[in-house]
């Protein structure tokens, strides 16, 4: 074997999460009443744009969740097989050139020269203080001053063109699928998509994809010879760092809610449904936990875990495993501090539900408690759970950055937006300023959080009965029109 598969703790949970999502999707597809609100999500323009962006991020995150240790190259074929200490991921393989082409120190985006002056040997034997050429960035250029602009422009154009071709193929496939689904001819389907007449906003989705393809194509074309977003203090490619940070952000945003969900659901429903001393005990528990300011509880817990990890180095064979456990622990402790909100909501809803006639009827028929809860109460509160999960995501991604800044976030060796911002702070004071790390973290983080916010809003609008009536009047008229046309066409 050329590698040894490594499945980190968070990897297991990520796989579990994917499994849960796939299973839920299959289940929802089979039930019309569950499909209806999702159809409303699919009709929301901003929601679908957010979803497309999220999917792109998730693909990067999933690639980064497949870990392995490569085999060390041996000169002696009979030697015992040994694997590198470094744990790599599938994303590292894709980004191999970015990962390995290290410069000496800072260099600006697309630069050909180092950021700092150094003493370099001239060909004629003398010495001079100048900006040395980069080892990899633009190394193919003979005369950077003259050729640089032309080369970059050629690569950007080529990359955008390549991206556009890929996009056209994707677009053709999408329109063909739409044509088949509606039974229309291809030209009609194309016209409908282009004029924004489809129910699912295909035009917006395709335009978002076009932006991604063009940007991606240009980046790939440039990245083969340049450091597109520059390099950091130790000469590592910033683009590589932000791409690796995506997984950390996604893991924090999703696993935190995943680990807290069982507690929040079980305790919240139990408190509301059973009442009495159960309610008192659970309320006491969450008031107590809630009354500790979140940052402080997290700080205290992470400090203590740090002591534990330092005291037991034998438990962690690789640095990646140690960093991963810290990430998992951070998720758990963030979950402990954030489950109270959901718990309270569920308690309120369960209190309301248990007074309804159909549940009293179930009581009268002698249905057992756990059956009433799983059969009648749980399905009726799931919309609250779903809304909370998607709404919480962006807040958690933002929280990670703050916690890493405070020093109680992810392991300093782990790439994350928080550690990037933290390092970039000190770089701002340099003259000339090193802005690219911060800018890269900013752009990626805002894109991710904004997409998550847009998607979360459309999910909430579709699922929360209270919000639906608060939509602006124009939107409501449009909805009504849509509903009418569907009825006319006999789809609804």
């Amino acid at each position: 074997m050329a590698f040894q598969a490594v499945v980190l703790w968070t990897d297991w949970l990520v796989y579990l999460l994917v499994l849960v999502i796939v299973a839920t999707t299959a289940y929802v597809r089979s039930k019309e009443h569950l499909r209806a609100p999702w159809r409303r999500v699919a009709q929301s323009v901003s929601g679908m744009i957010g979803l497309v962006v999220l999917v792109v991020f998730v693909v990067a995150g999933l690639l980064d969740s497949v870990h392995f240790r490569p085999r060390l190259a041996m000169s002696d074929p009979n030697a015992k097989v040994a694997y590198a200490v470094e744990v790599l991921s599938a994303l590292d393989l894709v980004l191999e050139p970015l990962r390995t082409r290290r410069e000496k120190t800072y260099s600006a985006p697309l630069a050909t020269h180092l950021y700092a002056k150094e003493t370099i040997e001239r060909p004629d034997g003398g010495q001079a203080r100048d900006f040395p050429r980069l080892k990899y960035g633009g190394a193919q250029l003979k005369d950077p001053e003259r050729d640089w602009a032309g080369d970059v422009a050629r690569r950007v154009l080529g990359g955008v063109a390549g991206g556009a071709v890929v996009w056209l193929l994707l677009g053709l496939l999408a329109v063909m699928a739409a044509a088949r689904a509606s039974g229309a001819r291809f030209s009609q389907a194309w016209k409908r998509v282009w004029c924004g007449g489809t129910e699912v906003p295909w035009r917006a989705i395709l335009l978002t994809l076009l932006a991604f393809c063009a940007l991606g194509g240009a980046t790939i074309a440039l990245a083969s010879q340049y450091h597109v977003l520059g390099t950091d203090k130790v000469g590592q490619d910033v683009l590589y760092q932000v791409l690796k940070s995506i997984r950390t952000a996604l893991v924090i945003g999703t696993l935190t809610t995943l680990v807290m969900l069982p507690f929040a659901i079980a305790l919240g429903i139990a408190a509301g449904y059973f009442g009495g001393w159960v309610d008192d005990a659970i309320q006491y528990a969450y008031t107590t936990l809630n009354s500790i300011p979140g940052v402080l509880l997290i700080a205290a817990a992470v400090l203590m875990m740090q002591v534990y990890i330092d005291g037991h180095p034998e438990l962690f064979p690789t640095a990646a495993q140690r960093a991963d456990l810290r990430l998992l622990f951070l998720c758990i402790i963030l979950g402990v501090t954030s489950w109270t909100g959901l718990c309270r909501l569920l308690r309120g809803e369960a209190l309301k539900l248990k007074e309804l006639e159909y549940i009293q009827a179930a009581h009268a028929f002698g249905v057992r408690h756990h059956r009433i809860i799983t059969r009648h109460i749980l399905p009726n509160v799931m919309y609250i759970v779903l809304i909370t999960v998607v709404m919480e995501f962006s807040g958690l991604v933002l929280a990670e950055a703050v916690l890493s800044y405070v020093g109680v976030g992810v392991d300093p060796s782990m790439n994350s937006f928080g550690t990037m911002i933290n390092n970039a702070r000190l770089e701002m004071a340099r003259d000339p300023m090193v802005w690219w790390s911060l800018a890269a973290a900013f752009v990626f983080m805002v894109t991710l959080v904004l997409a998550a916010n847009l998607f979360a809003d459309s999910v909430r609008d579709a699922f929360d009965p209270r919000v639906r009536m608060l939509k602006p009047l124009t939107q409501r008229r449009k909805d009504a029109k849509n509903a009418n046309t569907r009825q006319v066409r006999g789809i609804s």
Partner: protein, 325 residues
Amino acid sequence: MISYIIRRLLYAVPILLGVNVITFALFFLVNTPDDMARMQLGAKRVTPEAITKWKQERGYDKPLLYNADAAGTAKLAHTIFFEKSLRMFVFDFGRADDGRDIAREIRLRMGPSLAVAVPAFFVGLLVYITFALGFAFFRATYLDFWGVVICVAAMSISSMFYIIGGQYLIGKLWHLVPISGFSGGLDALRFIVLPAAIGVIGSFGASTRLYRTFFLEEISKDYVRTARAKGLTEMTVLFRHVLKNAMIPILTGVVVAIPFLFIGGLITESFFGIPGLGSYTIDAINSQDFGVVRSMVFIGSLLYIAGLLLTDISYTLVDPRVRLA
């Protein structure tokens, strides 16, 4: 009312006790004082004598819960739980690692925290409500639509970017105010303006959007339609009726936050070098000063409970239907 407040205060005791037990478990049971000593001293200097000395200096050399060697009540009193956790109820926090008295330090640092947080709080509230009411007035127009778009975009930006951006733009580029630091007296104003302004801008998006939904929810109610049907102008309806009623949900979120003004913004204070409680906490976390972190956890939960109580009392002030009994 008075009896209600007293009951609530009594109810706070078990909660604070619970907080105490949690922090005690976190700091002393999960890891023994020996572990902490080893970590603080660093790997090289760990000798049994050094650990004993470290524990003695901080008073960690006693048994955790029950001291069998002592006599009488001292059996329970001469323990870590009593001396480090229960003594907090009388605001005796002991000493920080640098030897200073934590309680005194907290008193000193309250001022700067309040100086930044209070203006930010009130200006922020005014700004958010103004904008939210404006969006609600222009609801279902392009102004409202783009206002919400800007809010969503603004809430997607991490607060740290606002701070770094503000410091760079106003402090470094335009040299309007010093980038960081603090001083007493009127001079403090120069140092307060930027962090307070950034505090307001930082939560503009989320708060304005939230308040806008509160206003819209209120606007869609029947009494508003009645008011309009009576012939009241939209202005009167908004200010006399909607604003007053929407204050109830707004207060719920806001009043809880008032006590936390003492702690101030953790991040803001440490970025701007304001010697308040927030930066004190962050410094303690970074230097792993467990005593200070424990004290701040206690103070934080105390303030939270005070916030809940204040919220309930404020309801009676804005909503005559609410009676506390």
